[in-house]
């Protein structure tokens, strides 16, 4: 039984999408279930995902030039890895445009701290329970979140110098 099958068995009602592509397992879940799934991945002895490799987000607004319409706008993507069993798992969390908020995983994997701050900075997704959720790359006076697809590509917010 692969890790993805274990998660699917345990959390069947929370799963929105699941597929395997060339051995890479991917599961999309509801935001409310993230905390339970993450805890399950980390604390189940035969899964033992002790390493959060990456945490990022995707904005699906105007996805494929507007030809593909998704039910949700954002996905937060988690890449987990087990150093013990050498297996991997990709979890995506579907998030609504109106309330982009998801539980923080800082207490389970400490490295989530800066990743989550970056996702907040670039996409404006809030992380509930984050100890210090402020901007990490842009400056505090910056308005908006530049990697959202509706952020104007030419918009500039200079700290000093003339406004264009």
């Amino acid at each position: 039984m692969t890790p993805a099958q274990k998660v699917q068995e345990q959390f069947a009602p929370e799963i929105l999408e699941a597929h395997v592509f060339r051995g890479d397992e991917m599961i999309t879940i509801r935001a409310s279930a993230l905390r339970a799934v993450a805890q399950f991945l980390k604390e189940t002895p035969e899964l033992d995902f002790n390493f959060l490799m990456d945490l990022t987000a995707v904005d699906y607004l105007f996805y494929a030039g507007g030809r593909i319409a998704k039910e949700w706008r954002f996905e937060v993507v988690y890449h987990f890895f087990s150093l013990k069993y050498n297996h991997r798992m990709r979890i995506k969390v579907a998030l609504d445009e109106k309330n982009p908020e998801v539980d923080s995983l800082c207490d389970l994997w400490a490295c989530a701290n800066w990743y989550e701050r970056e996702v907040w900075d670039m996409f404006g997704i809030r992380f509930k329970g984050h100890p210090n959720c402020k901007r990490i790359l842009m400056y505090e006076a910056f308005q908006g979140h530049p990697l959202r697809k509706d952020y104007p590509v030419n918009k500039r917010q200079p700290l000093i110098g003339p406004q264009i």
């Binding site: 842009m138 952020y151 590509v153 030419n154 500039r156 700290l159 000093i160 110098g161 003339p162 264009i164």
Partner: protein, 186 residues
């Protein structure tokens, strides 16, 4: 004009010439290196092209000891206040060289993070375009800067994006996505 005035005028103009001559061959540069142009800057400074032939081979890493600010590489909105501070800390007379397209106009960047030319922040004397500029190009710019120093000229103005003034004619318009799209349409 009395004879005493005439001699004074004659004497001061020669002094300016002598000062310009001394300054242009003893450029103490401050390298503000942020990106990939730094490699080409190092190549220009190294033995093959040897900027020291022009008296500009001695970088000072304190703005208070330098005459020429070499801005080498992309300047982001976050580093812009630092660049401004470094410029303000330099003693007069001072000159600024924009090295590479990113410092000249923003280059191919047109986004939330990049300053569209350092001349929106500090006055620029010499623009050296190129991505990155070849060492010959840099030495050409350096010789033009020396001519400027000899004449005692310094840039004082900033680029105004609304009025499109304060930049050489070829660099009035930075790169813009709209411009490129319009250009391609039949």
């Amino acid at each position: 004009m009395t004879p005493s005035h005439a001699s004074a005028n004659f004497f001061t103009s020669k002094l300016t010439d002598a000062l310009g001559w001394a300054r242009k061959f003893s450029i103490f540069q401050y390298p503000f290196v942020t990106a990939c142009c730094g490699m080409e800057y190092m190549a220009t400074n190294a033995s093959h092209y040897d900027q020291d032939r022009f008296g500009a081979g001695f970088p000072r890493f304190s703005p208070r000891q330098s005459d020429v600010l070499f801005v080498v590489g992309t300047i982001s909105q976050k580093i812009a206040p630092v660049l401004k501070t470094v410029y303000d800390q330099m003693c007069e007379p001072k000159w600024v060289v924009a090295f590479g397209v990113c410092t000249c106009t923003g280059g191919f960047y047109d986004n939330y993070a990049t300053v569209m030319g350092i001349d929106t922040i500090i006055p620029v004397d010499i623009y050296i375009p190129g991505c990155p500029p070849r060492p010959e190009n840099v030495i050409d710019g350096l010789i033009k800067l020396q001519e400027k120093i000899q004449k005692g000229e310094q840039s004082r103005g900033l680029y105004d994006p609304r009025l499109k003034t304060g930049r050489p004619a070829g660099m009035q318009q930075g790169y813009s996505i709209e411009g490129q799209i319009k250009h391609r349409e039949p």
